[in-house]
């Protein structure tokens, strides 16, 4: 017996070691899900603790060298770039005004639907310091952990799009499951067709959108956004673009998605540490009377200077002039379209019929129906840009037909 054991000692030890590992594997698989990660947390922390300090150090050296070079030595073309960026800022300001308008309108419509919105209220910037080193475990390590307020299941994004979610948190590092991992899943919606599904990583690192019926029309190039259904990512964050659509099994489409964020070259990411959920209310959007909308659209006629103090005192609230209640002098109107005051104080105000002289005359051929109180018209101009009101999009119920 002893000779047999001695002869096959190596083989017996091999089988023993393999058996122990298979047993451990089976235990983890049986437990399944994230419980497995929690149960093996203590073991994993050894390796993570041994490897990540070196990664962090190397990243620090790399960043330091890079900053020194780029900030003090390699400054060629900075002046031209600065000029270009300033021009870009100007363009973006104009764009911002337009987008604020759209956002306000969307806000109003959400209010009508008693919509619950999630807002990103606080993020923590983190540096990607490592990976799993395996193409079958698509995770990255970030240099922020429990100490920075990171918790499990927090969303991780970049400016371009979503990256993944926090899977395991250690004291100073956290493990992020990237959306192209096989075990990842993200609630998604197609931007134009509004079809909902969920994103799943494939074995080859690609991302597919699952759950869209094959009789639906999905075109390559369509943008994919988060749907908010997973309770991790807030709704509306960019996910990627549809690259390929094919018929799959079980009446569902096989939709390939190219991620918006470059998942292969992640450097800095943002962790959404705080989301605020609030019910949108119509009061947020404010009320503007139809007459004000009309006044903004129609060609204006300069008002007569206010000579009669009585007339000045009875100017309707919300008209082109300052409210009479303020008791201030009537401002001179110089032919420019009157600016509709849409401050927060106007919110919830009851629309009153304007005096006939406050409504500008309609040009010939314009049919103007009697003004009705409009339920909720968006605040068209943000407070940051009050001097240049953008065109107001017609609200539902607006009976005006200027042309």
């Amino acid at each position: 017996m002893e000779s047999v054991l001695g002869r096959y000692r190596n083989l017996i030890i091999l089988v023993g070691v393999l058996f122990l590992q298979v047993l451990g594997l089976a235990t983890q698989v049986k437990r399944g899900g994230n419980n497995d990660l929690e149960s093996t947390r203590l073991i994993r922390i050894w390796v993570v603790g041994a490897i990540t300090p070196f990664e962090r150090g190397l990243i620090w050296i790399e960043n330091g060298t890079g900053n020194l070079w780029h900030n003090y030595f390699y400054l060629r073309g900075v002046r031209a770039e600065n000029r270009q960026l300033k021009e870009q800022i100007e363009q973006m300001r104009i764009e911002q005004v337009r987008l604020s308008e759209d956002a306000a309108q969307a806000h109003r419509l959400q209010a009508l639907l008693t919509f619950k919105e999630q807002f990103i209220s606080r993020t923590v910037a983190a540096q990607v310091i490592g990976s799993s080193g395996s193409d079958l475990s698509r995770i990255v390590y970030i240099d922020k952990g429990e100490n920075a307020g990171i918790k499990k299941d927090m969303a991780v994004i970049t400016a371009d799009g979503i990256v993944g979610k926090v899977l395991v948190v250690y004291s100073s590092v956290a493990q992020v499951l990237v959306i192209n991992d096989q075990t990842s899943g993200v609630g998604a919606i197609l931007e134009k067709s509004r079809l909902q599904g969920y994103l799943k990583g494939k074995a080859d690192g690609e991302i597919g959108m699952v759950g869209v019926m094959s009789d639906e029309q999905v075109a390559p190039g369509e943008r994919v956004l988060t749907s908010g259904g997973d309770q991790i990512f807030p709704k509306g964050l960019p996910v990627g673009t549809v690259t390929k659509v094919a018929n799959g099994k079980d009446l569902f489409l096989n939709i390939s998605v190219k991620p918006a964020a470059d998942l292969n070259k992640l450097e800095e990411v943002l962790v959404l540490v705080e989301k605020q959920e609030r019910q949108t209310s119509a009061e947020d959007t404010g009320h503007v009377r139809a007459a004000d909308i009309l006044a903004q659209r129609l060609p204006s006629v300069p008002d007569k200077p206010a000579t009669d103090p009585k007339a000045a005192g009875t100017a309707p609230a919300g008209s082109a002039q300052q409210p009479a209640a303020s008791g201030g002098p009537k401002p001179a109107v110089t032919g420019a379209p009157p600016v509709v005051k849409k401050s927060a104080s106007a919110a919830g105000s009851v629309a009153t019929e304007p005096k006939p002289d406050s409504v500008k005359p309609a040009p010939a051929g314009t049919s103007v129906k009697p003004a009705k109180p409009v339920p909720a018209v968006p605040q068209s101009v943000p407070q940051s840009a009050p001097q240049s009101p953008p065109p107001v999009s017609p609200p539902p119920g607006d009976q005006t037909n200027p042309h």
């Binding site: 698989v29 390796v47 395991v168």
Partner: protein
């Protein structure tokens, strides 16, 4: 490309200092986790911990030492990911045992032999990993011979260079 059969008395058995025994696998794990941040395809084609396992197993020429080395390195590699611990562990245990058993029988000191041994063990490692991941863990796996052979060749080339560097740390028993 001489691959010579040697008796157990003829082959030399090496040992390594403790800093090398611990430091080299740790460095391999570190590079395996860090380099893909700059070169994303690195993790797809290269497996530095596997090369280190093969090197230590062949140099020590002791199957128990080989399988334990493979087991520890593999389990550590598993711990860096989020999949169940043991998939790499099992694959590298088998490779460590095989490489050290082969090291007893063959002269694996020359570049040609090392190239072939690495090529073969890369495929063995991939096959074991594929089987365990698919059949035990129920992970979706796709096997491609083209990718497998390309990765095996790439690892073999890198391995030959790496082994000559690591030879400097060998100590005769």
């Amino acid at each position: 490309m001489p691959i010579t059969y040697t008796s157990g008395e003829q082959v030399e058995v090496y040992r390594f200092s403790i800093p090398v025994t611990i430091g080299v696998p740790l460095l391999a794990l570190f590079l395996q986790a860090f380099v893909p941040l700059r070169f994303p395809r690195f993790a797809v084609y290269f497996d530095l911990p596997l090369l280190v396992t093969i090197f230590f197993a062949m140099a020590r020429r002791n199957p128990i030492s080989g399988l334990l080395t493979g087991s520890v390195i593999g389990l550590a590699q598993d711990m860096l990911g989020h999949n169940p611990i043991g998939i790499y562990g099992i694959a590298k245990t088998v490779v460590g045992y095989g490489a050290s058993s082969l090291g007893v029988k063959l002269d694996v000191e020359n570049a040609g032999a090392r190239f072939l041994v690495t090529l073969g063990f890369y495929l063995v490692h991939s096959a074991v990993y594929f089987t365990v991941a698919r059949d035990l863990v129920n992970m979706t796996q796709t096997w491609s011979w083209l990718y497998g052979m390309l990765a095996a060749l790439a690892n073999s080339f890198v391995g030959v260079g790496l082994y000559f560097v690591l030879d400097k740390f060998k100590q005769r028993t």
